[in-house]
């Protein structure tokens, strides 16, 4: 029985080889495999820095501390960038009276960011799978601004973050930022 099985296996192997040899010699066409992989929609998680308190009379305070991150990127095309940006209002407002304010400036990369203008805080590059959070975001309150506060109390300001998928790799020259 064992001998019979061995014979049949050898026979099958030989016939297979002959078919391949025949196909190479005589075929004028063939089948092309077309494959598709369904990967799902892109998604990512943006985490922003915690709420923060600034000490009275502090002139410069970092509000980001490397804590703005883009995590868990899924199905991000290689030619795309995820940008996370922040905007600010330029004023602290007294909780009990919105007409009482303290002006401030936001300093990023040693330049002032105008109120209402988005500035990139974190980026994920699809081509390199690199994730980078920029850290130099300082709220600057001058002595004159502190002194201008008409009334004691609790003042707050919102810093608003959002993110988007951009369908190209952001050129640092365009974005004014560097991947370093």
């Amino acid at each position: 029985m064992k001998k019979l099985l061995s014979f049949l296996l050898i026979l099958a192997l030989l016939s297979g080889l002959s078919v391949i040899a025949f196909a190479e010699g005589e075929s004028t066409g063939g089948n092309q495999a077309v494959k598709a992989q369904i990967t799902g929609a892109p998604s990512w998680v943006l985490t922003i820095p915690a709420d923060q308190t600034i000490e009275f009379m502090a002139e410069e305070t970092d509000i980001v501390h490397h804590a703005c991150s883009i995590d868990d990127p899924k199905h991000i095309p290689a030619d795309c960038t995820i940008n996370a940006s922040l905007t600010h209002t330029g004023n602290f407002t007294l909780k009990t009276d919105a007409s009482k304010t303290i002006p401030f400036t936001l300093n990023a990369f040693d330049e002032d960011v105008p109120a209402g203008t988005p500035v990139i805080a974190s980026q994920y590059w699809g081509d390199t799978r690199n994730n980078h959070c920029y850290a130099e975001f300082n709220i600057v309150i001058s002595r004159d601004s502190w002194a201008s506060a008409e009334q004691g109390g609790t003042y707050t300001t919102p810093v608003t973050y959002t993110s988007e998928l951009v369908d190209h790799i952001v050129d640092p020259a365009d974005g004014g930022t560097d991947r370093g």
């Binding site: 929609a41 892109p42 998604s43 990512w44 998680v45 943006l46 985490t47 922003i48 820095p49 915690a50 709420d51 923060q52 308190t53 600034i54 000490e55 009275f56 009379m57 502090a58 509000i63 804590a67 995590d71 868990d72 922040l86 602290f92 303290i102 709220i139 309150i141 002595r143 502190w146 002194a147 506060a149 009334q151 004691g152 109390g153 609790t154 003042y155 707050t156 300001t157 919102p158 810093v159 608003t160 973050y161 959002t162 993110s163 988007e164 998928l165």
Partner: protein, 181 residues
């Protein structure tokens, strides 16, 4: 009792987390434009009084006799925030050791004195004593007065000095004084 201890530990852990501001997160897709907000807070105390002292720039005393006199004006008390009450004043004062030391040879020294501008500079009896704080500026709720001194060097000291570059330091300070008036 054994079951109660882990429960209390868990509760303590939860409370400790609760006292810390947490970062917030959001899962985005390409058509999502959600906005996340970080709140920055500062508390300004009621009538918190702060001030700073503007002091004169560094000076160079010209060598020789009475020409060595230099005016030390430009002390100024500047209130940053808050308001002085009727019973408060800010005083600025200076102290000095009266010695200029050769930068290259600390054994070489020149003695100098500060005097009230209204006093005769050549008399050591009227000069400010070294090591003693002298009030050179006062600011009250409604007024401020300054009495910056002159610096001068006695002719005797000049004659004895070795050639060199000499430096000394005048130290300024300020404080809030409750007058009780």
């Amino acid at each position: 009792m054994k079951k109660l201890i882990p429960l209390l530990l868990a509760l303590a852990l939860l409370l400790s987390f609760g006292s810390t501001a947490l970062a917030s997160s959001h899962e985005y897709t390409p058509d999502d434009s959600a906005k996340l907000s970080q709140t920055i807070t500062t508390v300004i105390p009621d009538n918190k009084l702060t001030w700073y002292l503007e002091i004169p720039a560094d000076i160079t005393i010209k060598q020789g006799g009475y020409d060595a006199r230099v005016d030390l004006t430009n002390v100024e008390i500047v209130v940053d925030s808050g308001v002085l009450s009727d019973k408060q004043k800010i005083e600025a004062s200076l102290t000095y050791d009266g010695v200029l030391t050769d930068e290259d040879n600390t054994d070489n020294k020149i003695n100098y004195l500060l005097s009230d501008k209204n006093a005769e500079p050549e008399y050591e009896e009227t000069a400010m004593k070294t090591g003693t704080a002298y009030v050179v500026g006062t600011k009250t709720k409604d007024a401020e007065t300054y009495n910056a001194p002159d610096a001068w060097v006695t002719e005797y000291t000049w004659d004895m000095a070795e050639i060199g570059n000499y430096e000394g330091t005048v130290v300024y300070s300020s404080k809030l004084v409750e007058t009780g008036a």
